[in-house]
């Protein structure tokens, strides 16, 4: 009995550790006082100021654009890579390919950022592209490191999927491309959505790599947050953080509703199939 007590205590401590900082962040975003940690009454004035902060809003727009484009690109690349790793058996260079996929996951951000910047500089010297650094280079950099995450997500979904469906389609004469689009893609679609969301979040969160490969005039939202946070705390950042947390919570809420509905639909379909058959 004593041990159970210790375990639930540890669990509560862990959850408190994870959530209390986030709750405090949200609470203090409604604080009247400029001193973030002294409560001066309820106010939404920081949200108002946030809406008038043009530098921050344009950085947010740029970040959302980069995140959307790079997440889409990395889903395409990651799906190809995941398919190659789990469905193509042995092919020449598979070991190197596997290494190239997993290495970006553990590579320190400072190295990824530095190495991509040096590549862009060398390419500009050699072939004149990319002309300076900006949105394009940030998008390429984010695609590169997020594609690995998508590849891992897709690969594990493919590994858990029943391969006999694809084989049956192949036996019935469907070409590989058709098998992929008609059978495989619908089944791994949840993994693609999860991969896209993960890539989007990682891109929206990155400050280190973006700082290396961005140019003048292309400042992303995390870069703005980072430079303002470095000089202490400001209630505006609390307000911004609250909005971002709200956005994530809403996204997860919608995703879970869609998933439960799909699950229910699938179960209903299975029952129908059983009854008619």
């Amino acid at each position: 009995m004593k041990r159970i007590g210790f375990l639930s205590w540890a669990l509560w401590f862990g959850y408190a550790f994870l959530y209390v900082p986030i709750v405090l962040l949200v609470v203090y975003s409604f604080n009247e006082s400029r001193l973030v940690t002294v409560w001066g009454g309820f106010s939404t004035k920081w949200y108002g100021e946030l809406m008038n902060n043009d530098a921050l809003l344009s950085a947010a727009g740029l970040s959302l654009q980069v995140a959307a484009v790079s997440a889409t690109l990395s889903v395409i690349l990651g799906t190809c890579a995941g398919m190659a790793m789990s469905r193509f058996g042995r092919f020449r260079g598979r070991t190197l390919f596997g290494g190239l996929i997993t290495a970006p996951l553990v590579m320190p951000e400072v190295i990824t950022g530095l190495s991509l910047l040096l590549l862009f500089v060398a390419m500009e010297q050699l072939i004149g592209w990319p002309d300076g650094r900006g949105v394009t280079t940030i998008t390429i950099a984010h695609t590169t490191f997020t594609a690995s995450y998508v590849a891992v997500v897709v690969q594990s979904r493919l590994a858990g999927m029943d391969g006999s469906l694809e084989e049956a389609a192949m036996d019935l004469g469907a070409r590989p491309a058709k098998v992929f689009f008609v059978i495989t893609l619908p089944i791994i679609a949840p993994a693609l959505v999860a991969g896209w969301l993960l890539a989007f979040t990682l891109s929206l969160d990155d400050v280190v790599v973006a700082s290396f490969v961005s140019g003048p005039g292309s400042t992303t939202l995390p870069m703005v947050i980072f430079s303002s946070v470095k000089f202490g705390i400001s209630p505006q950042i609390n307000a911004l953080a609250t909005l971002m947390i709200l956005l994530v919570a809403a996204g997860i809420f919608v995703a879970s509703i869609v998933m439960t509905r799909q699950d229910r639909q699938r179960k209903r379909d299975e029952q129908m199939a059983l009854q008619t058959g």
């Binding site: 041990r3 210790f6 375990l7 639930s8 540890a10 669990l11 862990g14 550790f17 994870l18 900082p21 986030i22 405090l24 962040l25 203090y28 973030v36 940690t37 002294v38 690349l77 190809c80 890579a81 398919m83 190659a84 193509f88 092919f91 260079g93 390919f97 190239l100 996929i101 997993t102 290495a103 970006p104 553990v106 320190p108 951000e109 400072v110 190295i111 530095l114 190495s115 991509l116 040096l118 590549l119 390429i140 695609t143 590169t144 594609a147 590849a151 590994a159 070409r175 590989p176 491309a177 979040t201 969160d205 280190v208 946070v229 470095k230 705390i233 953080a241 947390i245 994530v248 997860i252």
Partner: protein, 313 residues
Amino acid sequence: MRGAVSALAAVLGRLGLWGRGVVVAVPYLWLMLFFLVPFLIVFGISFSESVIAQPPYAPLVEWLTDEDAGTTKLQLLLNLTNYLRLTGDDLYILAYLNSVKIALVTTLLCLFIGYPMAYAIAKAPPARRGPLMMLVILPFWTSFLIRIYAWIGILKGNGVVSNLLEWAGITSGPVEILYSDWAVYIGMSYCYLPFMVLPLYSTLEKMDPTLLEAAADLGCRPFKAFLTVTLPLSIPGIVAGSLLVFIPSVGEFVTPELLGGPDTLMIGRVLWNEFFANRDWPVASAVAIALLLVLVVPIMIFQYVQAREAEER
């Protein structure tokens, strides 16, 4: 007719193969160009010399034309001074040792907080495990930067922790935990905790409960059963989780920059400063290569553990 069909089939077959080739080639080429090649460039530039120019490094390879002899030769200059500087200057060695120390403490903190959590979740009724795990992963979806920022308000003098300690009468006056190594430990273990809990949970959940029942039937006390049965069986999870926390912690930049003091030296910070403050690209590259050397062994162990896990499945 039959000939036409078989010809068509052959063409389609080739197309199928071609399609397969593209599926491999596109991500392969992308990763080669934007991951492997950049890395080789870093390696190359780490042997270069810093110059005041645009870009600020001397080319490694140069065509030298000797006017008198009328010959042209290709000269490759490899400069080892950057590496000599790394080994000769205490700053760099201290930064390396400190990074490893901070990463180790972070890993241990994550293990101490994460193991009981993972164990408790694995012991919970099956229907409750999913939501409990979800609660561990959820914070991961909110911005890393924002989560680090949250700790500034908690740890600074006159912050939440300081006020709590003062209210409880433990301290008399504000305590400044921010801008110290402890702030970095707390912030980093906070951010990396889900990485520890996930693999631990997946090994603990797979464990056969009858093993513990057998131990109890044979008269083993629960704590001893935990030490002799559960703990050894969960070692793969401990190793995977520790590496997932340790590896990114060593090269961490944002957390020590925001929560650490000016004397919280870490390699990520040194690299950043060499690049942005000193504009010394060759030394920054040499620091990057040396950082990778520190990480090569843990990364290889990690790959090995992952591969073995994949085989067992």
